[in-house]
Structures are given as C-alpha cells and as structure tokens.
C-alpha cells in the first residue's frame, strides 16, 4: 500500500533549517534597511534596489524556510537530508543575493548580471528539489497543489528576471515586456499564490475558521493561470480578472477571520488584518496604475506584514514542538518564546510603516519610512533570533547535560 510519509510534525526538518532561513531573512531585511538609508543619503536609492531588498532578502528566504518545513508536514513530501540540502540552498541564495543587491546599489551591470545568474541557479536548485518531491504526491490537498504551481511560477519568474537583467545589459531587447512578465509571475504567480495556498490550510488551523469553499480552494491554480495570461496582454481591462480574483481571495480570508470560532484575538491575527487590508488597497492601485510604485509599495506591505505575523506564530510553536519531541527538561510556553511586547511593537511599527508610505505624496517625508523600516527590521531580527536561541539553549541535542 502506498502510504503518505509526511503524516505529522514528526517528519519536520530540524529546527535549524527553518530558523536558519528565518534569521537570515530578518538579518538581510535589517541590512537592507541600512542600505536604503545609506542609498538615501548618497542619492543611490532606486526602485529595483528597494523592491528586491524585501522580495528577495526577506520574502524569498522566509518562504524557502517555510517550504522546507511545510513540504513534509503539510504536503507529505519528505525531503531527505534536509539539513544538507537546505544549507546548499541557503549558500547559493546568499552568494547570489549579495552581488545582485550590490549591483543595483553601485549601478554595476556586470555585478548585477553575475548576481542574477547565481540567484537563478539558487532558485533552480531549490525549486526543482521541492517540485521533484511535490510531483510524486499521489493525492493533493489545495495547499500542496498550490505550492506546486507557486514553485513553477517562481522558476519561470526567476528566468524572466534573468532576461530582464540581460536586457538591461543590452544583450536582448523588450525590457518593458520582460519586466512586466517577471513582476506578474513573481508577485502573483509566486508570492500571492503561495500565500493563498498556505492560507487554505493555516487560516482554518490557526484561527479555527470555516474552511475555504472546496471548489475554490481545489481549483485556485486553474483560476489563477488564465488571469495571469490575460494580465500579460496589453488592453484596457487586462488586469481586471486578476484583480477580481485577488480581491475575492482577500475578502474571503477577511470574512473567515472575522467569523472565526475562536473569539480570543491572538496577536498574529492583527498582522493578517493589516496585511489583507494592504492587499485590497494594492489591487485597487493595480487596476488603475498597474506595476507602478504605489502598487508595489502596497503589495510589499501585504506580504511583509503577513510574513512577520506567521513568523511570530511559527517560531514559538516550533520551539515548543522540537523541545517537547526531544524530551527537554524545560519547555517554555509559546508566549515565553518571543516577548509579547516585541510582537506588539512590530505590529505598531508595521502600521506606522504603511501609514508613512501611503502619506508620502502629502508629507514628502521620504526618510521616515526608511527609518521605521530600520527599527522594525531590527526588532524583528532581534525577536526571531532570541526566540530561536532559546531553543538552542534548551535543546538536549545541543546541550549534552539537558
């Protein structure tokens, strides 16, 4: 009989796999905010630099870490030797990210090209590793099916990203078209579809809500694909189908959260609210302006806020779970892993960041969001690092005496 292998958290990879990616993501986001600050004062701040600090340094690292955890636990796709494979993915990602960001900062095309090539290799390796496991699954849930499509779009989006850099260097034409395709695939095909697919499982699980409508959840990738194709075409309402789908998903999620059975409001819930409010606003901006700065800002706020909320839930649970499974003599409560005041501060700073960015056209205070981002990313990094170190300090695997 063909039995699903990843039936429980017991199939989860070692804690260091997930925490390693999460800590790196937070550190890179903080480092990125410092780069933004320096770039602001040296007149080197550019939109691609600003965007990739968050999409690559923060989001992609976090999402890879989360996928290493979720593939076996949620999808039943077990990755053998997860520590070694995650380390290779992490090294490749870092090797690509650093020259890539420096390339944007220094406006050095060859550095950018080198970084883009290494990043493409890193994404190819990690996505194909995960896709090879996902494709072997016999029975899919909406989440595992969505992950499969999201990873496929990531591959495609990364390839188009590389073509964009080639076009910057003058090797190929059609920069505008390539860039639009890259953004569409990465922001909607990858980020949004992964978030939506994961939502199908975690919204119900974390907040005890009604499940998403089964027809919608199971067919989500097939609804997304045509809207992406239409979005690639250039006619007046080509962005409308995608906008409708994304807004429908955001409203469905908010409705489920508002009507959740658990009435006690845990802090991560507010990250979901802020995040999805930003998503709704992003889509309103998208329909009118397309991939312009206002949309990119709102969309960035959507996924970065959500990622923070998820991290504040995942890290404490994993600390508890791994210590509990390892038979540690002291197992902290989830609320003790990360100081609740730190989580609250990050939430407040996230809201302030949104407000400072949205009010930019009136206030013209460009330095303010950069400073808020700096404090927010520093606090987040500190919180995730401290929570993770608690595990390493208590785990019998790392402390022979415990």
């Amino acid at each position: 009989m063909n039995l699903p292998r990843g039936l429980s958290l017991l199939q989860a990879p070692p804690f260091i796999v997930v925490s390693g990616f999460f800590i790196t993501a937070c550190f890179l986001w903080f480092l990125g905010s410092l780069v933004e600050l320096v770039a602001f004062f040296t007149d080197r701040l550019s939109l691609p630099l600003f965007v990739h600090i968050t999409t690559l340094g923060f989001a992609l690292f976090t999402m890879f870490g989360a996928l290493f955890q979720m593939l076996p636990v949620v999808a039943g796709a077990v990755i053998d030797k997860p520590k070694e494979k995650a380390l290779l993915s992490w090294i490749l990602m870092l090797l690509g990210y650093i020259p890539f960001i420096l390339g944007f900062y220094l406006k050095d095309l060859y550095l950018l090209l080198f970084g883009a090539l290494l990043l493409l290799v890193a994404i190819l390796y990690t996505s194909l590793l995960m896709l090879s496991k996902l494709l072997k699954i016999k029975s899919y849930t909406p989440t595992s099916k969505g992950m499969k499509f999201a990873l496929f779009f990531l591959l495609l989006g990364a390839f188009f990203g590389f073509l964009v850099v080639l076009s910057y260097a003058g090797y190929i034409p059609h920069t505008g078209y390539l860039l639009r395709t890259h953004m569409l695939l990465m922001l909607f095909g990858w980020v949004f579809s992964l978030v939506a697919s994961v939502s199908f499982q975690v919204v119900e699980m974390f907040f005890v809500t009604k499940p998403y409508p089964p027809f919608y959840a199971f067919n989500f990738p097939y609804l997304l694909i045509p809207t992406l194709f239409i979005g690639l075409l250039e006619f007046k309402i080509s962005r409308l189908p995608l906008t409708v789908l994304v807004m429908f998903h955001a409203l469905l999620t908010l409705h489920r959260l508002f009507t959740r059975r658990r009435k006690v409001a845990e802090k991560s819930l507010y990250f979901w609210y802020v995040s999805h409010a930003n998503l709704l606003l992003a889509m309103l901006l998208f329909i009118f302006y397309g991939f312009e700065v206002p949309f990119l800002i709102a969309f960035g706020l959507f996924f970065s806020t959500l990622i923070m909320g998820m991290m504040f839930r995942i890290i404490p649970f994993l600390v508890w779970f791994h210590l509990s499974s390892e038979g540690s003599s002291h197992i902290p409560l989830m609320s003790e892993v990360i100081d609740q005041r730190l989580i609250k501060s990050c939430l407040v700073l996230s809201i302030l960041l949104s407000l400072s960015l949205y009010s930019l056209p009136i206030t013209k205070l460009e330095l303010l969001p950069i400073l808020i981002h700096l404090f927010l990313s520093l606090l987040l990094f500190y919180s995730i690092l401290k929570g993770s170190l608690l595990y390493f300090g208590l785990s019998p695997l790392y402390n022979a005496s415990k």
């Binding site: 039936l7 429980s8 949620v74 658990r262 009435k263 003790e336």
Partner: protein, 142 residues
C-alpha cells in the same frame, strides 16, 4: 449513513467549539463557567481519542497490517495533546490565565494540524478499507 470521515470530522468540530467556548470564558476570567466548559472540552476530546485508539486504529491495523505507520504517529500526537490538556487543567486550577491561554495556543496548533492529517489522509484510508457503519457502531458503544 455516515462515513468514518464525516463522523469523526464532526467530532473534531465539536471539540473545537468546546475549546473556543472555554477559551473565551478564560479570557473573560469567568472562572466558574470556564471550569465547566473545560470539563466538557476535556471529556469530549479524550473520548474522541479513545474511540480512535480503542476501535479505529486497531481495526485499521488489523485490516491493513500496518502497525508502525500513520496510526502510530497519531497515537504519539494524542499523547502530546493529553499532556497539554493536563497542563491546561493545572493552570485552570491556579486560575493562571496567561499559562492556560498560551498552553491552549500550543494545543490548538498541534491538534489542528493533527486533525487535518486525519481528515485528509487517515480517515479516507479507513473508509476505503473498513466497513464504516460497523466501525462507527463500535465507537459509539464505548
């Protein structure tokens, strides 16, 4: 006529409702009512575990010959959940709201991922290999 999936999924939902009610009462520090709600939650949850461990899992193992597979993993997660319920009960006796809610949070994440795996994988397998009406009758007899 219920399938095993429908029958036991409904029990999961009932336990979720009971937990949510208890959590709300604890949050409002309505300790007397919370104690009653906790008893209902604990009784129903443990009864559900017992139905699976005494009837469903042995039936599944007997029919398929798989004893170290998913049922073993489910038993281990039940043990973790029982321990958390015990810690919640101790916190309730001390009227320690923070510990109770935080332990409850851990319990909910553990049990929700556990439930989803049962509902999406194990129960459909049981429906496929066992006679649902016979198994449900045995579980109800407990």
């Amino acid at each position: 006529m219920f399938t095993i999936t429908e029958y036991l999924t409904e029990e999961h939902r009932e336990c979720d409702e009971l937990y949510a009610k208890m959590e709300e009462l604890v949050s409002a520090e309505n300790w007397e009512e919370a104690k009653k709600a906790f008893e209902s939650f604990k009784t129903e949850t443990l009864k559900h575990f017992q139905r699976e461990e005494d009837v469903l899992f042995p039936e599944f193992e007997g029919r398929t010959g798989i004893v170290m597979g998913p049922t073993q993993v489910m038993r281990m997660e039940h043990a973790q959940a029982r321990e958390l319920i015990q810690r919640m009960e101790q916190a309730l006796e001390r009227r320690d709201k923070k510990t109770l809610l935080s332990t409850g949070e851990t319990f909910m994440i553990l049990i929700q991922q556990h439930n989803m795996k049962e509902e999406q994988i194990l129960y459909p397998m049981c429906d496929q290999h066992l006679d649902p009406s016979e198994v449900i009758q045995k579980m109800e007899a407990l």
